[in-house]
Symmetry: C2
Subunit: 288 residues, 2 copies
C-alpha cells in the first residue's frame, strides 16, 4: 500500500495503477461503515484508493474540528488489511494552499436540513470532493447513506459538472441496537450511548407506519418527534420527512420520503436517515 | 472530424482518441485568434478537441447573448481545415439541464475589472470551463491572452481544484492597426471600426512609458486615460494598471503591471490588455 501526502506524489502513484480505480474518501477514524465502502470498492475495481483528510472547510467555527478523532496509524493498518492500494493523507495546506479561493457551490439541495444548521458545510464538502475527484480520477467513488444529504449534494455536483465517474452509495452500517456507526460516537459517555439508539427507533417507527400505509409527511414527522421527545437526553435539531430530490419537507401525501434527523445527545450531534419508497440513489435497505 | 452534440456521444468520441489531447474552448464566431490556439494545440498534441458553445451563464441580462454571432457551418469548416479531430456543439439544455444548480466560484480574482462591470460573468465562465475539462479530460487547454482576467480566473480554478491538465496561454492576435481580434468586432460600423484601435494605442503608449522607466501605476493609467479621452466615440468602463496576481490597481510603484481596459465604442464593448514585466502565465510579447 502506497501512502502519500504531497499531491505530485499522489499523481505519480495514481499513474502507476492500472485498470479501474475505486475511491473511498474519508475523514479517518475509520469504523465498519467505512470498511464496508472499502470492501465494496475492492470487489468492483482493479485498484482501490482512499483519502484520509479532516476537511477544515466543512466544519463551522463552533464545531468539533480540533477534537475530531485522528487515529492515523490505526486507520492505515485497517486500510492496508482491507487491500487498499493507495492512500492520500494530505495536510490542510496541501489541500488549501495560500491564496486558495475557488469553491464549488451546489445551491438548492444544500440549503435545507443540515444546510440550515451548518451553513457553509456542503460548500466545503463539495469543494473537497471535487478536488479528490480531480486528484484520484477514479472510475467509481463510494459514499455511505448515513450522510444522506451529502450523497444527494455530491450526486448533484457530479451530474451538473459532469465528473466522469460513477457514484456508489452503500447502506448505513449499524450497531446491534440500531445506532448508526459514526466516528463521533466515541464522544458519547455510557449514559448517552444508551440513549443514542432513540434516533433509529424513531426512524423505524415511522417506517413501520409507512409500511402499514401511512403516506402523510406531517404524520410521519409527528411519529418520529413523539418518540424523540420521550428521551430526556435528546435535543432535536430537525426531524424531516422530505422529498428525496428537493429535500424539502412533504406536508401532505407522497409515495417516497427521505426520513432524516439531527439530534444532540448531550453535546454530541448525531444524524441518521431512512429512505422510504423507490430511490435511484440509495440502496434498497435489507429489512431486519 | 467528429462533430457531436450529446454528452454521451462526446464521451464515446473522446474515448476513441488515443494519445494526448489539446482542447480549445470557444464560443464560435471564430477568427484568427481562435485559429492560432488551434494551431498551437495541433502542434503540441496527438489530438485536438474544440467546443463551440455560446455560454448563457456568462452573459448578463442586458448583454448580447441573443445577437452574439453564430456562424456554425463556417466555424466547423475552419476547424476541420485546421485539423481538429473532435468538436462538441452542445445545446444550452445539454450543458444546463433542468435542475442544474452547481456553480464554481473563484472569489478574489473574479471581483475587480470585468467582475465589477459584469457581475456573475466569471462564475459562468469558471463553471462552463470546469464542465469542459470534465467532458474532454484534455491534457492541455488553450486560451487567448485577449481575455486576460478570464485566463487568471481559470488558472486559479485549475490550481485550486487541481484539474489534471496544463493551461496554455497564447498571445493576442491583432489587426494591422492594432485592434485585438474579437468576435464582437463585427458589431462595429465603419466609423466605429476606425476609432477602435484607440485601445491598443493607449496600451502601447503606457508600454512605451514603462519601457522608458515609468513604474508608477497611477501615471500609467493617466497616460492611457488621456489617449482614450481624445477619441469622441470611446466611453471608458475602466482603465487599469494592476498587479497581475491580485488584479487590484497598483497605486504607486511596481515592476509588473497588467494594463487592461474595457471601452465602449458606440454600443460595442471592447476589452484589451498588455502585460508589462515578467509573468508566469502570459507569453512574452513579440514587440513590433
Amino acid at each position: 500500500m502506497q501512502i502519500v501526502s504531497a499531491l505530485p506524489d499522489l499523481r505519480a502513484a495514481r499513474a502507476s495503477l492500472s485498470g479501474s480505480l475505486g475511491l473511498v474518501p474519508t475523514m479517518g477514524a475509520l469504523h465498519a461503515g467505512h470498511m464496508a465502502l472499502v470492501t465494496r470498492a475492492r470487489n468492483e475495481n482493479d485498484c482501490v484508493g482512499a483519502s484520509i483528510f479532516v476537511n477544515p472547510s466543512q466544519f463551522g467555527p463552533n464545531e468539533d474540528l480540533s477534537k475530531y478523532p485522528r487515529p492515523l496509524e490505526r486507520d492505515l493498518t485497517l486500510l492496508k488489511e482491507a487491500g487498499v492500494d493507495l492512500v492520500w493523507t494530505p495536510s490542510p495546506a496541501e489541500v488549501y494552499p495560500p491564496g486558495f479561493q475557488t469553491w464549488v457551490e451546489v445551491s438548492d439541495v444544500s440549503r435545507p436540513l443540515e444546510g440550515t444548521h451548518r451553513p457553509g458545510h456542503f460548500r466545503g464538502v463539495a469543494t473537497v470532493v471535487a478536488k479528490l475527484f480531480n486528484a484520484f480520477t477514479p472510475d467509481r467513488a463510494y459514499f455511505g447513506q448515513k450522510d444522506a444529504q451529502q450523497v444527494i449534494v455530491l450526486a448533484q455536483m457530479r451530474r451538473d459538472l459532469g465528473f466522469p465517474l460513477q457514484m456508489v452509495v452503500c447502506p448505513t452500517v449499524r450497531e446491534a441496537d440500531g445506532l448508526a456507526l459514526s466516528s463521533r460516537n466515541v464522544y458519547l459517555d455510557p449514559q448517552e450511548r444508551a440513549a443514542a439508539p432513540i434516533l433509529y427507533r424513531a426512524l423505524s417507527a415511522a417506517r413501520a407506519a409507512y409500511d402499514a400505509g401511512e403516506r402523510c409527511g406531517e404524520r410521519l414527522r409527528a411519529i418520529m418527534s413523539e418518540i424523540l421527545a420521550s428521551e430526556p437526553l435528546a435535543r432535536v435539531d430537525y426531524v424531516s420527512a422530505a422529498d428525496p430530490e428537493t429535500l424539502l419537507d412533504v406536508e401532505s401525501r407522497a409515495d417516497r420520503f427521505l426520513l432524516s434527523m439531527a439530534v444532540c445527545i448531550g453535546r454530541t450531534r448525531l444524524i441518521d436517515n431512512v429512505m422510504l419508497g423507490e430511490s435511484d440513489l440509495f440502496p434498497r435497505e435489507e429489512q431486519a
